[in-house]
Symmetry: C2
Subunit: 406 residues, 2 copies
């Protein structure tokens, strides 16, 4: 992509009501636009990052046997009366002309359970796993953390359906493993954290990334790299694994959670199956969430410097940022050659100062910076710098493709 053709521009400043580092850098870099507190548009660069996160998640959830669907935003208040969640404070409400009340779903248990009920008869229909990557709405009283706590946000929500608890336990472990794979690919290194399990299971588990910007507080066992969420530290004062009492408090961001729902939602909706003896049993459920925008915001919180964002390779909007400081046509040719080789290149072909180009490059934060100047061209070379390293190397033009595909 040529920067001269991108309709967005980087910005020097953001409005003063933006308090979070992630939103500030993402807005300045032209990744997102703030529509109101907790509601953002994804601009071309941000949309690319979002899609890469989406594809990483989709690939791993498909490996887990997840079947992708798409459920709606609007759901009748009647579904929420069945589960008793119609009083939840964070639900946005709306109305049909007829006066019927609807909620904007904040999660989809009230939709997915009656949906799958139509297809479940026997133990032979179980287990199965259904997921979507879709918008959620939460009427948050405070939404001051940029992408970390949004009122409208994209989430991957996976629901699993089992005939017995043992089967749920096995799948739950598989999902936990897959989550570590997903977050590693996204460039995050979360801590498995024990959290409140509600009425139907002792614990749920969160994937918490330690950073000062976090709204959560977790107590970390450094030996096991396992933590306990502050909300349950009264009852769980030691490391759940090694029983170590010396847990260290840390601020952290919850980027994912997994939850054994057991029969919490299947029971009120009467989601039953006939067991091998023809007897009705209630389906056992698990649910598993990842917020895509929150993951993106967390990467920015965890990976930036005073100049801008430092994107991990797998979710960077482009692999390399090519800066032309020479009017020589070789820069343009290199751009086309690199594109042809399959590399994703952001090409700064604008007629602005070298200083502005370098500043924008650091702010946008692609993994590799390539500079073409009259001086480098004299040696048939370009200047290569990695965003996360200080060293600058000279590389022969015909070796660049090789380096980028490494």
């Amino acid at each position: 992509m040529k920067l001269s053709q991108l309709f967005t521009k980087t910005r020097r400043n953001v409005s003063k009501d933006e308090e979070s580092t992630n939103a500030e850098l993402l807005i300045r870099g032209g990744f997102i636009n703030k529509e109101m507190a907790g509601v953002y548009s994804y601009l071309p660069l941000g949309f690319r990052v979002l899609k890469k996160i989406e594809n990483i998640i989709r690939e791993e959830i498909n490996v887990l046997g997840g079947e992708e669907i798409l459920m709606p935003t609007l759901t009748s208040i009647e579904n929420y009366k069945i589960t008793g969640r119609e009083k939840m404070d964070i639900l946005f409400k709306t109305k049909l002309h007829s006066g019927a009340d609807f909620f904007l779903n904040q999660s989809h248990e009230e939709v997915v359970v009656p949906l799958v009920k139509q297809f479940v008869n026997s133990y032979k229909d179980l287990p199965f796993y259904v997921y979507q990557i879709q918008n959620k709405f939460r009427n948050e009283p405070r939404a001051k953390s940029g992408l970390l706590r949004a009122r409208e946000f994209i989430m991957k929500d996976l629901y699993s359906f089992h005939s017995n608890e043992k089967d749920l336990d096995l799948y739950y472990e598989k999902v936990a493993k897959a989550y570590f794979t997903i977050f590693k690919k996204i460039g995050l290194n979360p801590i498995l954290t024990f959290a409140s399990g509600g009425t139907f299971s002792k614990y749920s588990h969160e994937f918490q990334v330690i950073t000062e910007a976090g709204e959560d507080e977790i107590y970390l066992c450094k030996k096991c790299n396992i933590a306990v969420n502050k909300e349950i530290i009264e009852e769980q004062k030691v490391c759940p694994k090694c029983k170590n009492k010396n847990l260290e408090p840390n601020r952290a961001i919850e980027v994912g959670n997994i939850f054994k729902l057991n029969t919490k939602f299947s029971e009120p909706f009467g989601l039953l199956f006939k067991d091998k003896n023809g007897k009705d049993q209630t389906v056992i459920m698990g649910c598993y969430g990842i917020g895509l925008g929150r993951a993106m915001g967390t990467v920015v919180e965890a990976s930036h410097d005073e100049h801008g964002i430092i994107w991990p390779k797998e979710i960077a909007p482009y692999q390399a940022h090519l800066i032309a400081l020479s009017k020589d046509k070789k820069a343009e040719k290199l751009y086309h050659d690199l594109q042809k080789s399959g590399s994703e290149i952001l090409y700064d072909d604008r007629d602005v100062s070298a200083g502005e180009k370098f500043a924008d490059c650091d702010l946008i934060g692609c993994p590799v910076r390539i500079v073409v100047s009259d001086r480098t061209l004299e040696k048939d070379s370009v200047e290569v710098k990695y965003r996360d390293k200080d060293k600058i190397e000279f590389v022969k033009i015909d070796k660049i493709v090789e380096i980028l595909n490494k």
Copy 2:
């Protein structure tokens, strides 16, 4: 995909309040689930069709230079007061805890114009083209046509920004051409239809597919294959091209529309640019929509028989439906071989009657049916039938890959 693993099942009947053919067949086939009138979930088979339509559209809009973004559902009522559209009957309303009013966007002019305003200064910033593939919400009083008139639906909306009308006109023509390419790939054959242009241009243009299920009425010039929407037939009584007075009335479904907005939205938001003389001018706009679900519903209306859906190859959930009537392992092997060759196969490995398998195959409607039975295996063959043809052929197993990749 093995049918035994798909969590959905085909259904014999749908609820009696479902009046439309498209929803009836799509629900019976397990493509969608009705959540309420005008609100549907996309199930695994339907989600695959939706994604294929999405990818066809994305590819062509990218060729037009479209930059993909993602705007939110929630927008402050204040934006709608600026354009005077806050009284629109179809807007769903919701509230923050603070009492602030928000609309669920039914289209995104009120979001995209203030958004791009931050990036437009000079004529050098124009033209550019921004689009998204995103949910829309319309509080329809009657939603009885399945996917043809939904209350919540996915739309591709493209907005173009120009420094002068001539540039808009050129782009508008390019989009019209691209729309024909898109619809042809989706398997639709729409008629370019002149429709009401509003206050800012004489006409808009619709892409109308002639079918009895259509809610629109268009007047067709058979010679030019151009039509006039009934809404303007009083003022436009003849073919706009050949002036033929003999126009034939037809029911039709509007699958896309393109609209010259001129300054209708840029003016109220003050979306200006400096021209070559440094003088402020108002940006000229066009907008271009395609409803993805509606396109899917229209395909079903236009392409089905008494047994079920007949999917066009490009958007079929799977290219072939493999039916095993033999317990021989060769069916399973063929399934894996076909998958390895890159073919998308729906494999009916269930322990149900041949009759049920054939009925489900016709209902789901993949382009090719492949039957493996003891009788065909005697000849190292399979039975091949195309969904839209009656003839059944015997094909040697080792030739099948070739046929599917044709």
